[in-house]
Symmetry: C2
Subunit: 237 residues, 2 copies
DNA sequence: ACCTGAACACCGTTCAAGT
DNA sequence: ACCTGAACACCGTTCAAGT
């Protein structure tokens, strides 16, 4: 992984190389394992050398988000606000699924970089171009929240593989016993959890189709926005 | 802060005392400053003593969440599913606002404790009691996501006071210059951000009424749920 | 049974020094 | 201008020892 030229001479570090290496490393080993020291080792440099290119770890994470944002498609042209928003959110979601580290990182960003503000600005622009009032657009953006990035806080959230081996599944009979106990103690959870074995037909727990759930909620909101817009909704009323 | 009896004799540590101290400490200094070492100091004990009462830091955080869940009102009786859900979500939200550490902690929980499962079970029960199909209830719970806890990933999220002094505001003229630049570079963001000076009448940035935004989105979703329920919606259709 | 002390393997970041 | 080395002030957690 140490970056060297043909003859072994050092390749100069740049901010971009640092950020790209950070993204690749986070994709590979999970964000919680990415430390300044680990990243330095990855690019073949002493930890402190990184600080010539990013002020601190926060700025590193901001830069990683910028690379992510660059992967999101621009707004579709010549379609209504509704498909435009829908397509863009789903594009953001694809970028996010490619980079599982991005969700927790986005959640903790406090300063918005120009790239992030650009994304938000053009996102808001889709509603305004669709004839939404500034007032309604404001509330609609809040209602969308992190869904603008293609994710939501899920309830039954699987804890993200973290690029490590999942713990070995318990033996089938132990599993069955646990499920029985679950069903006895939390009958409603059990019914709802086992109800929809969407994609893989598995009976145990979350065989949920996350994409379906995401689009279900997204469309519910978009339909709501459409209805409010059609009836000329205003917060002063 | 060291816990001692009258004559200076030690008060025995218990799991409950550890958890309550952790909650109080997180309320006071912010969750990111709560370390096992800092908490130990708070209860007047050497760090390792805590490990007799909680297996590790994760379990400490799980226990803190349990104390939070205990503050949420039980479901209202003899009302429809809609007001019942609404009231309970808003009760959860009040608990959450009392304990700003709870949001990030909930987001990172991976194992659900019995108290959390109890809450979820009775939450799901409100929809089932209202006549929702198991199928619709499943999707509705996903759509609600973290809103069940009274929070959402906000976009313009203020970074939570962290129980520390906020940095001093820049001088007014610098502020105005920054706003002007903002408006030039990100016109849509600027329009929407300055549009609603709800509560405090401030023109600068997020004078947003978070509670209004939360209820706006919640009601949008509840209305959507109601509509789907009324029309007998099913995922197989 | 409960608490202590010393140690291990990590962090992010500083400062002064090297080339 | 860029990179290095040593150090500081932290982490969570282990192990063996004390009472």
């Amino acid at each position: 992984m140490v970056q060297q030229g043909e003859g072994g001479q050092r390749v100069r570090l740049t901010r971009d190389r640092v950020l790209e290496a950070a993204v690749a490393l986070a994709d590979e080993i999970g964000i919680e394992a990415v430390s300044m020291r680990r990243l330095a080792q990855e690019v073949g440099v002493v930890p402190m050398a990184l600080y010539k290119h990013v002020a601190n770890k926060e700025e590193l994470l901001d830069g990683m988000v910028d690379l992510l944002v660059a992967e999101i498609d621009p707004p579709a042209r010549d379609v209504g606000w509704k498909p435009a928003v829908r397509l863009r959110v789903l594009s953001a979601r694809r970028a996010l699924l490619r980079h599982p580290w991005a969700r927790p990182v986005l959640e903790t960003r406090v300063n918005k970089t120009p790239a992030v503000l650009d994304y938000m600005d053009s996102f808001i622009g889709m509603f305004l171009a669709g004839g939404f009032s500034v007032d309604l657009t404001h509330h609609v953006m809040h209602a969308l929240g992190s869904r603008m990035w293609g994710f939501t806080q899920e309830l039954f959230q699987e804890p993200a593989p973290a690029a490590a081996e999942p713990p070995p599944a318990p033996p089938p009979e132990a599993m069955a016993a646990m499920l029985g106990q679950m069903a006895a103690l939390y009958p409603n959870v059990a019914r709802v959890a086992t109800a929809s074995a969407h994609d893989d037909g598995s009976v145990v727990g979350p065989g949920c189709d996350d994409q379906f759930e995401f689009e279900f909620a997204l469309d519910l909101l978009l339909d709501g926005f459409e209805r409010l817009h059609a009836q000329g909704w205003s917060s002063r009323s």
